[in-house]
């Protein structure tokens, strides 16, 4: 068994992420109801175990009589899609720039460093709101906005790691043997930074889930026809007195998913022994 799989955090995190992922993938099979099916005679039902609950709707129904549990499962689809695609996108952009900056140095490093400075002067929430204003709603635009905001997280941390690795003797040896720059970077430097990349990627997935929820909550996320946790929270807030599970269920879903990614990332960071800048968002 590989070393990283022996960590308790990694296993717990992985199990949580896989569970949410299965909910997303198999939502049509698992969900007890059609998530868009309205039942105007059974709106704002409380959870099944509360007084007045209906066993057919485990977590109750929303203001239009739609089943909360089913919507939660379908909401996982948007959350997981955005989490996976956006974090890979942010990693791709950020890490390529980090390798260029860290390996080439000079003006390329200066230029990329200043770009990071400019980006970092925006609070991430503000920048993503502005981008969504420009891009318009929709899942693919949410992904694009996250990539455009969060590439700096990868670039900043990875660049300093590349600077360290590029000064190692075996990298100099590779150059002396006659490796081209391209081959030195791809064969010698990139593999040395993979553990850090994996850790950052996992943590970014948790961040992406939160950002998507925030944008959908404000009404600037996915299209309103799509089911998203952030939208469920916005709707649930209106019904907080009558049917609190409308609000609590998506809040819990976000927490569990993010906790899964964070446990996984934390466990990987420890077991892969990566020095990493602590920080959130």
């Amino acid at each position: 068994m590989p070393r990283w799989l022996r960590s308790g955090r990694v296993i717990v995190g992985l199990l949580i992420v896989l569970a949410v992922l299965s909910c997303a993938l198999f939502a049509p099979l698992l969900a007890p109801h059609d998530p868009d099916e309205q039942d105007l005679l059974a709106t704002l039902l409380p959870a099944a175990w509360q007084a007045g609950g209906d066993p057919a709707h485990l977590l109750g129904t929303d203001g239009l009589g739609r089943d909360v549990l089913s919507r939660l499962m379908f909401g996982a689809r948007v959350a997981m899609t955005v989490a996976l695609v956006a974090s890979f996108g942010a990693m791709a952009v950020g890490s390529v720039l980090a390798y260029v900056a860290g390996y080439l140095g000079g003006w390329a490093d200066w230029l990329i460093g200043r770009a990071v400075d400019v980006w970092m002067s925006f609070p991430p929430v503000i920048l993503s709101l502005i981008l969504m204003t420009g891009l318009g709603t929709g899942a693919s635009n949410v992904i694009l906005a996250i990539v455009l905001v969060d590439w700096t997280r990868f670039c900043r941390v990875l660049r300093s790691e590349v600077l360290v690795v590029a000064r190692r003797d075996y990298v100099a040896a590779a150059r002396l043997v006659g490796f081209s720059h391209w081959r030195t970077v791809t064969r010698e430097i990139v593999p040395a930074t993979i553990p850090l990349l994996v850790t950052l990627l996992t943590l970014e997935m948790g961040i992406a889930v939160v950002v998507e929820a925030i944008l959908s909550f404000v009404g600037l996320g996915v299209k309103s026809s799509q089911i998203a946790w952030g939208q469920m929270i916005a709707d649930g807030r209106e019904a907080i007195y009558q049917a609190p599970w409308n609000l609590l269920a998506p809040v819990a879903a976000i927490f569990i998913t993010v906790a899964g990614f964070n446990m996984l990332g934390d466990g990987l960071r420890r077991s892969l022994d990566v020095r990493m800048v602590e920080g959130r968002e």
Binding site: S121, P123, T133
Partner: protein, 336 residues
């Protein structure tokens, strides 16, 4: 002196950054699919009227020219008029920024106190069985962003216990004193204890929700830098001299371990300032965040532009201040 010099140098660097930021904002907002001119007109406006409004707003000119015009007005303190609210934008910022700063500063106090106390606690658990539990606890804490705390607090303290108000800044019926714009301060200045109490109670939930989300990273960094510092010789020396453990921790170790923590807290404050937006929306707190979200919903470009810029200015100011403070506290970094 050093603080001022660094501050000055950093602020000079901030000017070109702000210029680039303003260009980016301009471009990002002009690729908008909606037409702000059409949105500002009544629904029965003719095509010609909308075209006229576009021309009047300068939206028919090429982008660089639009930017140059905007910048020319901006350096004279004219940031345009809100399309939706039909008012000058700058006073709107003046009215909402103090509220947001008040919220962010209070939240930062909460985050710092909890972060530093939590970091010391985590550190004191080192090597014990409880350490693993505490570490998993911080990982879980880090998984709750500010807007989830805000919603949970409303549910628990507002709805279940009905103990705390959770909308606005004051009880309805109380008149808001306006001196500086900072409500807590103003209430004290005019000597209204009832207003001060109402404002403080209204601020408590949002500030704690926002602060809680940013405390865990501070805990972690303080703990790990304390762990690093304890490997240093001077700690062993102090121990050999018979200095008590508490004194070693508070007088010797903490002084050095606080430096990386301070850097992180500066970065955190920037994020926290942005995070205040959601907390404001959730608590209907009249600040810059709500102004921004309303502007975004109405595609009110002049407001979005200036609010975005204001957030950047604040973040850059905080960063410069933290850098200056860092130099003051860490003499090793000073150049001759």
């Amino acid at each position: 002196m050093i603080l001022l010099a660094t501050l000055g140098r950093r602020l000079l660097v901030a000017v070109p950054i702000l210029l680039v930021v303003s260009v980016l904002l301009f471009v990002a907002l002009r690729v908008l699919p909606v037409d702000p001119a059409a949105m500002s007109m009544p629904p029965n406006a003719t095509r010609d009227e909308i075209e006229g409004a576009r021309r009047q707003m300068g939206l028919d000119r090429p982008l660089p020219e639009q930017y140059a015009i905007w910048l020319g007005h901006a350096v004279h303190g004219d940031f345009g008029r809100s399309i939706h609210l039909r008012r000058d934008v700058l006073p709107l910022i003046g009215q909402t920024l103090p509220g947001t700063i008040e919220l962010a500063v209070c939240a930062m106090v909460v985050a710092s106190v909890l972060g530093l106390a939590g970091g010391l606690l985590l550190f004191s658990l080192r090597g014990r069985a409880a350490e693993a539990v505490a570490e998993t606890g911080t990982t879980l804490l880090m998984s709750i962003p500010e807007f989830l705390w805000a919603l949970l607090f409303i549910f628990v303290f507002g709805v279940l216990l009905q103990a705390m108000p959770f909308t606005g800044r004051l009880d309805p019926g109380l008149e808001r004193p306006v001196v500086t714009g900072f409500l807590l301060l103003d209430a004290l200045l005019v000597g209204r204890v009832d207003v001060f109490r109402s404002a403080a109670v209204h601020l408590l939930l949002p500030a704690v929700a926002l602060g809680l989300a940013f405390a865990p990273p501070i805990m972690r960094v303080l703990r790990s830098s304390l762990l690093d510092v304890y490997h240093e010789d001077y700690i062993r020396q102090a121990r050999l001299r018979g200095v008590s453990e508490t004194r070693i921790l508070l007088r010797h170790a903490l002084k050095n371990a606080i430096l990386p923590t301070l850097t992180l807290m500066g970065v955190q404050f920037g994020f926290l300032f942005g995070g205040s937006l959601l907390v404001e929306v959730i608590y209907s707190y009249p600040g810059m965040g709500n102004l921004m979200v309303d502007a975004v919903r109405n595609a009110d470009l002049p407001i979005i532009q200036l609010v975005g810029l204001t957030y950047c200015v604040v973040v850059l100011l905080i960063n410069s201040l933290v850098d200056g403070l860092y130099l003051v506290l860490n003499p090793r970094l000073r150049k001759r």
